[in-house]
């Protein structure tokens, strides 16, 4: 007789071992490490919740404090390597293998540990891709998650930062795994049930509220004239040109500038209602003026943003909110929305090569991918048309039966030709290639592949790669907007002018834009305080962004 319930039995044994440190489901913060040492087994696949925003930090500290004699060689599967503890477990030997997606602040250390062989790396994924593998071949035995509050039965309120939690719980609980949640407080009754209590095995009352990084707050005070120029060109040359209504924005200053130009420059161009109405986007504070001006119909969010909660509560027509009034975010659904229901992704990158491959990896930093490669890719499974998608498709294909023509998602790279410290954005060869060689990765960590990119916008102009008919045209189109970087200065001037004559390259003046008009007075908000005013005092920015 085969044993069809061995996983279930193992789970029950873990539960039983953990009960010694719990009162019902509730565990005090001081007992976290004891609990984890009781329920974990060497070699376990463990999902520690944490992405580019929220962090199950109390559980991360508890895990890092585990005795490597007892708990070792764990296989960590998690969205983000963000906290120092996420890497400490590899230093001590508590963990050995890693599959992840994003690593912003720990990018330099993770690179060092990869070179040093401290981490056996499976792969760096996109968020959606990693979530998918939770249900196929990376299903966790134990999940460590974070929420705002829980009752004694384990009913969990995640608050506005629901993010990855439902996905992680779904994959773990329903496949014989154990779910441990840290919460800021135990309450009699949760404001809303984001995760039903029967899916939560233990609830840890954390010593401090879980950490959330204000990753999507861009201070308008730091926006430059160049970023404003690029934003103007994008609005006129892409948003208006393609009538882009459904979209996702990246995290950079360029896209934040676009958000702040909608109610001013966009309004002047008469574009209100015709572009940028439906969004898959975190609640960017810089979107407030556009929302308040009536540009935005609705926004679905991956996560929340620090300080935006009160504002979101008061704008339920725009945001997805629960019965309690607060935001309901969901990273997996929003990533899916960005992939299939948005006609454009527009974001920044650190390096672009001559073909248009882009990467945020530098030789000393492995930042991971997060969601950008997913949002910034053309989904071949898409079947519904839209004017934007069809127009891009027509530009890409010149011939064939129109009824068999596939549309194209707009994938736009919005970059300044030079980054910080006069480092060129355009390069002959991506640093990601060196990294792959040095660490023996089979795939170079490319953020967005060249064949997905449709446009590159710089302060020098817009290159429409859809209209390029061969590799040489493509290279010259890229060189033609690469400014004074070595790549840009290496252009064939005659070919670039020919591309400009065909509209493949469009300069600011071709769009009727003077660089001299790119002025900060165009921004709907020039400071965080202006955003607070736009929100009617509902936006409550974190302390580090205040100057009042």
């Amino acid at each position: 007789m085969p044993d069809w319930r061995s996983e279930r039995a193992a789970r029950d044994a873990r539960l039983e071992a953990g009960r010694a440190f719990a009162e019902g489901k509730v565990v005090v913060a001081e007992s976290v490490t004891d609990l984890l040492e009781a329920v974990l087994r060497p070699g376990d696949r463990v999902c520690l919740e944490g992405d580019n925003q929220k962090q199950a930090d109390c559980l991360a500290r508890g895990l890092a404090a585990c005795d490597p004699e007892r708990i070792h060689d764990l296989h960590m599967v998690q969205s983000g390597i963000v906290l120092p503890e996420h890497l400490d477990v590899f230093e001590t030997g508590v963990a050995r293998r890693l599959d992840y997606s994003y690593s912003g602040p720990q990018g330099a250390r993770i690179a060092k540990m990869l070179y040093g062989g401290k981490i056996a790396l499976g792969a760096v994924h996109t968020y959606l891709e990693l979530f998918a593998r939770y249900f196929v071949d990376l299903t966790p035995q134990v999940a460590l998650i974070a929420g705002v509050s829980a009752d004694r039965d384990g009913n969990l309120y995640t608050g506005p930062n629901t993010e990855d939690t439902p996905t992680v719980v779904e994959a773990t609980h329903f496949k014989n795994g154990l779910v441990i949640a840290q919460v800021n407080e135990i309450v009699e009754r949760v404001p809303r049930v984001d995760i039903p209590g029967d899916r939560i095995d233990f609830v840890v009352e954390a010593d401090t509220p879980f950490y959330v990084e204000p990753l999507f707050t861009r201070d308008p005070a730091a926006m430059t004239e160049t970023q404003i120029l690029i934003a103007m060109m994008a609005i006129k040359g892409i948003y208006a040109e393609y009538g882009v209504k459904r979209l996702n924005h990246g995290i950079g200053f360029g896209t934040a500038a676009i958000e702040l130009l909608l109610p001013t420059y966009g309004e002047r161009l008469g574009l209100k209602g015709t572009i940028a109405t439906h969004w898959a986007l975190n609640p960017h504070p810089t979107l407030i003026p556009a929302i308040e001006s009536g540009w935005v119909k609705q926004v679905h969010c991956f996560g929340s943003e620090v300080g935006m909660d009160r504002y979101i509560r008061e704008r339920p027509d725009v945001f997805f909110t629960g019965s309690d009034g607060s935001l309901r975010s969901n990273r997996a659904f929003c990533q899916t929305a960005g992939l299939y229901a948005c006609d454009m992704f527009i974001g920044a990158t650190l390096q672009i090569d001559l073909m248009g491959h882009s990467s945020t990896v530098t030789q000393s930093r492995v930042a991971g991918f997060g969601g950008a490669p997913n949002m910034g890719s053309d989904p071949h499974g898409r079947r519904h048309p839209s004017d934007t998608w069809m127009k891009a498709g027509r530009e890409a294909q010149m011939s064939g039966d129109p009824a068999l023509m596939r549309g194209r998602k707009l994938v736009v790279q919005l970059v300044e030709t030079f980054g910080d410290g006069l480092v060129p954005t355009f390069v002959e060869r991506l640093d990601a290639m060196e990294l792959a060689t040095k660490t023996g990765l089979e795939l170079a960590p490319v953020m967005i592949y060249a064949d997905d990119v449709t446009h590159i916008v710089t302060e020098e102009g817009i290159a429409n790669l859809l209209l390029c008919r061969d590799a040489d045209e493509r290279e010259q189109a890229i060189r033609g907007v690469a400014g004074y970087t070595p790549v840009g200065r290496g252009r064939d001037r005659v070919k670039v002018e020919a591309l400009r004559a065909r509209g493949v390259i469009r300069r600011p003046e071709d769009l009727g834009i003077s660089p001299l008009d790119a002025d900060r007075s165009l921004l709907a908000a020039r400071s965080i305080k202006d955003l607070v005013h736009w929100s009617g005092g509902l936006y409550e920015p974190p302390a580090k962004f205040r100057n009042w």
Binding site: S521, R526, A543, K544, N547, W548
Partner: protein, 302 residues
């Protein structure tokens, strides 16, 4: 140049402030950039220089009245006092004794002394304070306007305190030691400089106005500063013993009353403000109304 009511003081450069602040086209610069009066010392430190050494001085008209004006550029070396920078301000103040303008206006935007020229900067600050005393004693109001990104720190704060009147916007800060300096010397427990709200509760425009450390609070526009300056010129206190006796009494009373307060909000509560925690978020209009109800905020003791 956009209209003065649309120009953010905080965002504008020193030159933009002066141009929009004075009557249109009335500004005449002294030792202008074409004279290339640059720092003789910065090259030693491999640092770039500025043609005006970070300060614009000259004459113009304010509502028709002749005034002298100095404006610091907070983005060049933090608006700090170097040898040339300081000498331009000192020269302007000395010129006031000759020319008898209706006022001297100092548009502060400074972190204090420029370390690369520290001795020259510190001495120039002392010279400027002496010159202000003489200009004031001659009956010419010296008005300080503070709303730039660098604030009025270090010796800049002391010069500000020597002026007859001060106008400040919410973003303006006036202080001797900066938060980072205090944190470096005394630790983050004494002053966590990354806690921006704390910085503003301690030395920001609203706190200074409520406690009488500034005589006017204005919106962050050039037009608002202009209006405030016109008003303050008309009611500048004399520079005499009576004024300084009054200031002595005012400052002693402040320390007696608030000396045990740990935070700006505690002081505001003692000043009778109902909801002190709401002060930082108040709009300019609401704040002006609140400040109008605080008798300690307005005085002639400076």
């Amino acid at each position: 140049m956009a209209a003065a009511d649309a120009v953010s003081w905080y965002e504008a450069s020193a030159r933009q402030r002066v141009a929009a602040f004075l009557d249109a086209d009335s500004f005449e610069e002294f030792v202008d950039p074409t004279e290339r009066a640059m720092s003789p010392h910065l090259p030693l430190f491999e640092l770039p220089r500025a043609f005006d050494d970070g300060i614009v001085v000259g004459r113009g008209r304010l509502d028709g009245r002749p005034v002298l004006v100095a404006a610091q550029e907070g983005r060049f070396m933090g608006g700090a006092f170097g040898e040339v920078h300081g000498a331009k301000l000192v020269g302007l103040l000395r010129a006031a004794l000759d020319g008898k303008p209706s006022a001297v206006l100092i548009l502060f935007d400074t972190g204090g002394v420029r370390l690369q020229e520290a001795n020259a900067g510190e001495t120039a600050i002392a010279e400027a304070m002496r010159a202000i005393a003489e200009v004031r004693a001659a009956g010419i109001p010296v008005i300080g306007l503070i709303g730039g990104r660098a604030g009025a720190y270090g010796g800049g704060g002391l010069i500000a305190g020597t002026c007859a009147r001060l106008a400040v916007s919410e973003g303006g800060r006036i202080s001797v030691s900066g938060p980072e300096v205090i944190e470096t010397n005394r630790g983050a427990e004494e002053f966590d400089s990354r806690d921006r709200a704390l910085v503003w509760r301690t030395m920001g425009g609203k706190h200074r106005r409520l406690t009488g450390g500034a005589d006017a609070y204005v919106a962050d526009t050039v037009a608002a500063f202009r209006e405030a300056a016109l008003d303050l010129i008309g009611r500048a206190p004399a520079f005499d013993r009576a004024t300084l006796e009054a200031e002595q009494a005012r400052l002693e009373a402040r320390i007696a009353r608030f000396g045990d307060c740990r935070d700006g909000a505690e002081i505001w509560a003692r000043l009778g403000i109902n909801d002190p925690d709401a002060v930082p978020a108040m709009t300019d209009a609401a704040f002006l109304e609140t400040a109008a109800g605080v008798p300690e905020a307005s005085h002639d003791a400076r």
